[in-house]
Each structure stands twice: as structure tokens, then as C-alpha cells.
């Protein structure tokens, strides 16, 4: 396969993958904070 073609498609998927992983991590952090808050409210 052509070097430039391979690099272009690899970079497209790498950037998208990194972005989706970052979103996923952010989602986990937000959800755990929401859960923590709900537990505090329940205990109070």
C-alpha cells in the first residue's frame, strides 16, 4: 500500500479513536460524580 495513503487513514482512525476514548473517560468521571451525589442525597 502507498505510504501516504496508509499514513492518512491510520491518522484518521487514531485521532478519532483517541477522541472517543477521551469522551468515554470523561463520561465515566461524570457518571461517578452523579452517582456519588445521588448516594449522598440518599444518605442525607
Amino acid at each position: 500500500m502507498n505510504f501516504y495513503l496508509f499514513t492518512a487513514y491510520t491518522l484518521i482512525w487514531t485521532v478519532l479513536f483517541v477522541y472517543i476514548v477521551a469522551l468515554h473517560r470523561k463520561q465515566n468521571a461524570t457518571e461517578s460524580k452523579l452517582k456519588e451525589r445521588a448516594e449522598k442525597r440518599h444518605a442525607g
Partner: protein, 220 residues
């Protein structure tokens, strides 16, 4: 529900887009294999324009109504637009090097697109460095509207000025073979679905962040 449907649609569409780009579309006679970069480059470019258009529409809506949720949609769209534009600026030079024999040239299309990218990066940086307030949303909306002026300029740059950037869509139609046209639209469709999935996800996240009071800045 909506996101699940879009995700189910996204996977086969992306696989189909890759199949078309690598196997279905014929090898371009002059540029050879490297021309296959074009299919995703084109789709990402158009989706950047769409993302900035959505940002523009919601910025106008925010200024007209003051409803915070419009700002959430606008900022989510800006973030995805910057990701897509970054990929356009990566794939473009990778195509240009073997074809133009240079990574970058100050061509009208390249220059206006770089300006576009810089403006939306500035939009995100501005948001990341301001406290959550109506002032932040108002300033962001104004910047979102001003930055959008560059979108039609970028689109028309290859028609208004002398440019070496290829013109795919002309007043007479498209300068492409049938299989190439189909591949281009399949890739475009796949990226429309990807954009919709990411936008939906990001808006939901920003709403959650707002509810727990951690602001709704970028990914940092």
C-alpha cells in the same frame, strides 16, 4: 434510543465507506493509489462545514432567546468540527506531498481553511478559559457567528481566486467517475452518521456536567 440506532447504522456504513474507498473505487490514472485519501478528506471537509453551520445556527438561536441549551449544542458542534478540520489539515498535506511535491502551499483554499481552523480553536480556548456565565455564552455565540463568515469564503476560494486545489463540484456537475462519485457519497453519509453520534453524546455529557456543576468546557 436514537444513539443506539445511529450506532447500529454507523458500523456498516463505515465498513462500506472503507470498502468503497479501497476496493470499489477505481485507481486514479494520474495520481494512483494516493488519490484514495480524497474520499475521507472530502467527507471530513464537508462535515467540518456542517459542524460550523450547526454552531452558527445555535449561536444565533442563543443570542435570540438566551436559552442555555442552545449554547451546549453550539459548543458541542464546535468541538467535533475542530476534530474533523484537524483531520482535513492532516490528510490534505499527505495527499499534496506526492501530488504537488510539497506538504503545504499558501494557496487560497489551504490558507482560508487554516484560518477557519484557527478561529474555531480560538473559540474552544476562549470557552475553556471562562467561568460558566451568560457572558461566556454570549461572547462564544458572537465569535461563533463571526467565524462562520470564513466558511463560504473557504468554499468559494477555489472559484474566486487562482488556486491549485482540485475543484470537484463545478457548475456543470462533478469531475469524477461514477464509482468515485458513489464512494464519495458513501463516505459522506458515514461521516454524517458519525457526526450525529458524537454530537448527541457530547450534548448529553455537557448537560450532565452542567447539572453537577463542573462546567462544560473541553476535554481537559
Amino acid at each position: 434510543m436514537m444513539r443506539s440506532f445511529l450506532l447500529v447504522l454507523l458500523y456498516p456504513m463505515m465498513v462500506l465507506a472503507l470498502y468503497c474507498a479501497f476496493l470499489y473505487a477505481p485507481r486514479e490514472a494520474v495520481m494512483g493509489e494516493v488519490q484514495r485519501i480524497f474520499y475521507f478528506h472530502f467527507a471530513l471537509g464537508w462535515l467540518s462545514f456542517l459542524a460550523y453551520f450547526i454552531l452558527f445556527v445555535f449561536s444565533v438561536a442563543y443570542l435570540a432567546t438566551g436559552v442555555r441549551r442552545y449554547d451546549t449544542w453550539a459548543s458541542a458542534s464546535a468541538e467535533i468540527g475542530v476534530i474533523f478540520s484537524t483531520l482535513v489539515l492532516i490528510t490534505g498535506p499527505l495527499w499534496a506531498k506526492p501530488v504537488w511535491n510539497t506538504w503545504w502551499t499558501w494557496d487560497p483554499r489551504l490558507t482560508t481553511f487554516l484560518m477557519l481552523w484557527l478561529m474555531y480553536v480560538a473559540y474552544l480556548l476562549l470557552r475553556a478559559n471562562m467561568e460558566e456565565s451568560d457572558r461566556k455564552y454570549r461572547i462564544s455565540a458572537i465569535l461563533g457567528i463571526i467565524a462562520f463568515i470564513d466558511v463560504p469564503i473557504t468554499f468559494m476560494s477555489i472559484r474566486w481566486w487562482r488556486s491549485i486545489h482540485p475543484v470537484v463540484i463545478t457548475s456543470k456537475g462533478m469531475n469524477l467517475e461514477r464509482e468515485m462519485k458513489i464512494t464519495m457519497f458513501v463516505a459522506l453519509g458515514a461521516f454524517v452518521v458519525l457526526y450525529a453520534v458524537l454530537l448527541h453524546l457530547r450534548v448529553q455529557q455537557k448537560d450532565q456536567e452542567y447539572r453537577i456543576g463542573i462546567g462544560h468546557g473541553g476535554l481537559a
